[in-house]
């Protein structure tokens, strides 16, 4: 099952080897296999559909880079899209409100709420002493005074469980008052939190079914009373298709600010992560990787993406191949810049690169003293549409025209404009920009390395996509 996707993609796309760009038919064939792989990984069907719709346009027309197969190329595109849908970057707990900050833990029965409550509290209490506390982001860097309270009056010995965990972890728990109801416990916890000068109050709740109206109303009432800064939905990484229903219901009825995925130490593919993230739009903030108190980690979208697809090796292979080629490409361009032979073909390459990488880093990295320039470029806001438009203009030129922009006169301009659906003025503007770039490059070459950085920083003439 696990290495199924790469093999299947190989079968489907093998014949395409070395033929260049991915056609629509090839992509569709590949995406049928991707759909299966995602379903096998327990990504919920509506989310699978959304995913496929999102990745298709990214894949169609993509050049297959040298030394990788089309199947591998698709895996890489799919992986990157998956990372994006999973939230791109790791996100952390928000504990910035006026203390005591309330964290409310909710979820289905047995998902891991009580254990996770204690894990988070322990981590917060440790502060900077905690191993790799920095890896958890700022919210874990300071030592916090934490109070835990269990509002679980349903499960036998639930409050006892949290109390024992508190003792093991060295975290305070609210004393248990028999027969007190969740709202009463909440109020007492808030009071004790203020009185005792706590930074954070962790409220553990009883497991409940999303379709249990009464219990959902109960936890909504707790939320209203406690006004939590974070409401974390704790969910099992082994969850199947139902993940969408559960996540949606908890988000609608209680309002979720983040998700904790537990049992990531198991061998489930964890498609539920994508399902829940997609239907709630809420980030996955932490993952549970064991039963012990310190088995809590930050969520890394790329790792889960690799796991859902089950082929990290291919992703890194394509990344390495892409890096080599970008490097070669950048070297080639750098040489051209030095010789002042930067034609429209090169500009096209550069525009594509720009769009792909959100900057000129590829080229810059290769040029001496380019770091400052790079920083300047990063600040510049790229207008994707404008870049695409300029690409379209260059693409409607003939090869000869791109190599010798000087031959582009009135009639050619008209033809190019018509082909790109643009105005002749836009063609003029582009040609002028290119001419200025070439001029600047020549000057840069004369100035030598020192001047380069300065000039590159404002190399893009006004009107050029930034």
């Amino acid at each position: 099952m696990f290495d199924g996707l790469s093999k299947r993609l190989g079968d489907v796309l093998g014949r395409l080897r070395g033929r260049g760009a991915l056609s629509e038919a090839d992509v569709d064939a590949a995406l049928r296999e991707v759909r299966l792989a995602l379903l096998e990984a327990d990504v919920a069907l509506p989310v699978v559909k959304e995913f496929i719709d999102g990745v298709r346009p990214k894949a169609v027309g993509t050049e297959v880079i040298r030394s990788v197969t089309p199947g591998q190329m698709v895996v890489k595109i799919v992986h990157d899209h998956l990372v994006e849908m999973l939230g791109g970057e790791a996100s952390e707990l928000d504990l910035s409100a006026v203390p005591p900050v309330v964290v409310l833990m909710v979820g289905l029965q047995g998902s891991g709420k009580t254990t996770t409550t204690a894990k988070i509290a322990y981590r917060l209490t440790l502060g900077p002493q905690g191993m790799a506390a920095g890896a958890f982001g700022g919210s874990f860097k300071e030592r916090k005074k934490v109070l835990m309270a269990s509002l679980d009056v349903t499960r036998p010995a639930a409050q006892q469980q949290l109390k024992i965990l508190g003792e093991q972890a060295g975290v305070a728990t609210l004393p248990i008052v028999p027969f007190e109801q969740p709202l009463g416990i909440t109020r007492r916890a808030l009071e004790e939190g203020r009185r005792g000068g706590y930074d954070v109050i962790m409220l553990d709740t009883a497991g409940r079914l999303a379709i249990d109206e009464q219990l959902m109303a109960e936890v909504a009432a707790v939320r209203d009373a406690a006004k939590p800064t974070e409401t974390l939905l704790v969910a099992d990484a082994m969850t199947g298709q139902d993940a969408v229903n559960t996540a949606r219901a908890f988000n609608e009825k209680v309002g979720v600010t983040g998700i904790v995925l537990t049992r990531v130490d198991g061998d489930a593919r964890g498609g539920a992560a994508l399902s829940m993230r997609t239907v709630t739009g809420r980030p996955i903030k932490l993952i549970g990787v064991g039963e012990k108190i310190d088995a809590l980690e930050q969520f890394h979208p790329d790792r889960i993406a690799t796991r859902i697809l089950g082929m990290g090796d291919i992703v890194s292979l394509v990344e390495r191949a892409a890096e080599t080629i970008e490097k070669e490409e950048a070297e080639r361009l750098a040489a051209k810049v030095r010789k002042g032979q930067f034609d429209l073909e090169d500009l096209l390459q550069q525009l594509r690169q720009l769009r792909k990488m959100g900057g000129l880093q590829g080229l810059m990295g290769m040029l001496p003293g380019a770091m400052q320039a790079k920083a300047a470029m990063q600040k510049a806001n790229l207008d994707e549409k404008l870049i695409k438009r300029q690409e379209a203009i260059i693409l409607s030129m003939t090869r000869k025209e791109r190599r010798n922009p000087d031959i582009i006169h009135a009639s050619r301009k008209k033809r190019i404009a018509a082909g790109a659906g643009a105005q002749v003025q836009e063609i003029n503007k582009l040609l002028k920009q290119h001419a200025e770039m070439v001029k600047m490059m020549k000057r840069v070459n004369k100035l030598g390395e020192k001047g380069l950085a300065r000039s590159l920083g404002n190399m893009m003439p006004p009107g050029f996509p930034r």
């Binding site: 299966l36 379903l39 096998e40 990984a41 327990d42 919920a44 069907l45 289905l108 029965q109 047995g110 998902s111 891991g112 349903t154 499960r155 036998p156 010995a157 639930a158 006892q160 469980q161 109390k163 024992i164 965990l165 093991q168 079914l209 999303a210 379709i211 099992d236 082994m238 969850t239 199947g240 298709q241 139902d242 993940a243 229903n245 559960t246 219901a249 049992r263 130490d265 198991g266 061998d267 489930a268 593919r269 498609g271 539920a272 039963e291």
Partner: protein, 312 residues
């Protein structure tokens, strides 16, 4: 008795009907007596996939329907009925009771599963059922790891009116099972239910510990355990395959219990498991109360899964 049967059935249906509302709506929306074409079949397949049946089983069921009814005029009732029949057929052979044999004194039931699946709760419910059948029951608190696991089980023991044999937290689980078996024998118990700590099937160390529990008990009774139940959570997706596969290898699973079927999860993976492993399903959990344990009825499960009324 019949009153009680009705009430549990209503509860099961309530749970299942909520869980199948979407399936039902899906299919009802699809059919108002119209031709069964490829597009409709594709949509049906999706409905099944969303119930966790898995791509392979869903595909096969739909293929079956295609063969028999393609291009015919069909109503939603017919289509749902046909699916339910096919599913019931797959499930029928695995719908079995947990048979307690009187030769063994006690009949040892080892309960295993991943974390939080519902082992301890299921033991509490089973203990109650056995007591109601007039058996002498004892429980062993084999989860010596999880915080308050013993306390939790003791409360279940009180509720069921059954003694719980426990040791301090951190004690050796195999040693405890051994002593519990000794005590149960000495007291002439009919059934000994052994709770174990939750463990993920990919943790070899913990799985090895299960094998050890079995080995040690066999020093007293070479035929123990007489039943080994794997408890599955109905929300589980395709990982259930790996759970059954690995646990079965380690401790010869001879029965499944599916819990939390009162929720919105469909537990459809059971259909795939029945096909692949043919392990009996001996009970289902439909709530957190002590009486919320039911026998597994293939036809009812299948029809409820497809959102159909079950003939009384």
């Amino acid at each position: 008795m019949s009153g009680e049967k009705k009430s549990w059935f209503t509860r099961l249906k309530e749970g299942l009907s909520k869980s199948t509302q979407r399936i039902t709506q899906g299919i009802t929306g699809l059919f108002v007596k119209k031709k069964l074409d490829q597009k409709t079949l594709d949509e049906l397949e999706e409905v099944l996939i969303q119930a966790d049946l898995g791509v392979a089983v869903a595909g096969r069921l739909v293929e079956n329907l295609r063969k028999t009814r393609f291009d015919k005029e069909v109503t939603d009732e017919e289509v749902r009925g046909a699916f339910a029949d096919d599913i019931a057929q797959i499930l029928a052979p695995v719908a079995q009771h947990l048979a307690i044999s009187p030769e063994h004194k006690p009949h040892v039931v080892l309960v295993v599963g991943v974390n939080g699946s519902g082992k301890t709760t299921t033991i509490g419910k089973m203990a109650r059922q056995f007591v109601e059948e007039g058996r002498k029951v004892m429980i062993a608190a084999g989860d010596t790891f999880r915080a308050a696991a013993v306390e939790q089980l003791k409360i279940w023991g009180e509720r069921a009116g059954v003694p719980v044999i426990a040791k301090e937290s951190g004690a050796d689980a195999a040693g405890l099972a051994f002593e519990a078996l000794q005590q149960a024998r000495a007291q002439g118990a009919d059934v000994l239910l052994i709770d174990t700590a939750g463990r993920l099937q990919n943790k070899t160390g913990l799985m090895e510990e299960l094998a050890k529990i079995v080995r040690v008990m066999r020093k007293l009774d070479p035929t123990a355990p007489h039943s080994c139940l794997l408890v599955l959570d109905a929300t589980v997706g395709q990982n259930a395959h790996s759970q059954v596969e690995v646990f079965r290898e380690m401790v010869a699973i001879d029965g499944l219990v599916v819990t939390k079927l009162d929720g919105s999860a469909k537990g459809g993976v059971l259909v795939a498991l029945a096909e692949r492993f043919k392990v009996p399903v001996v009970a289902i959990g439909v709530g957190e109360g002590i009486d919320d344990l039911r026998p597994f009825d293939a036809r009812q499960f299948a029809r409820s899964l497809m959102g159909l009324e079950t003939a009384a």
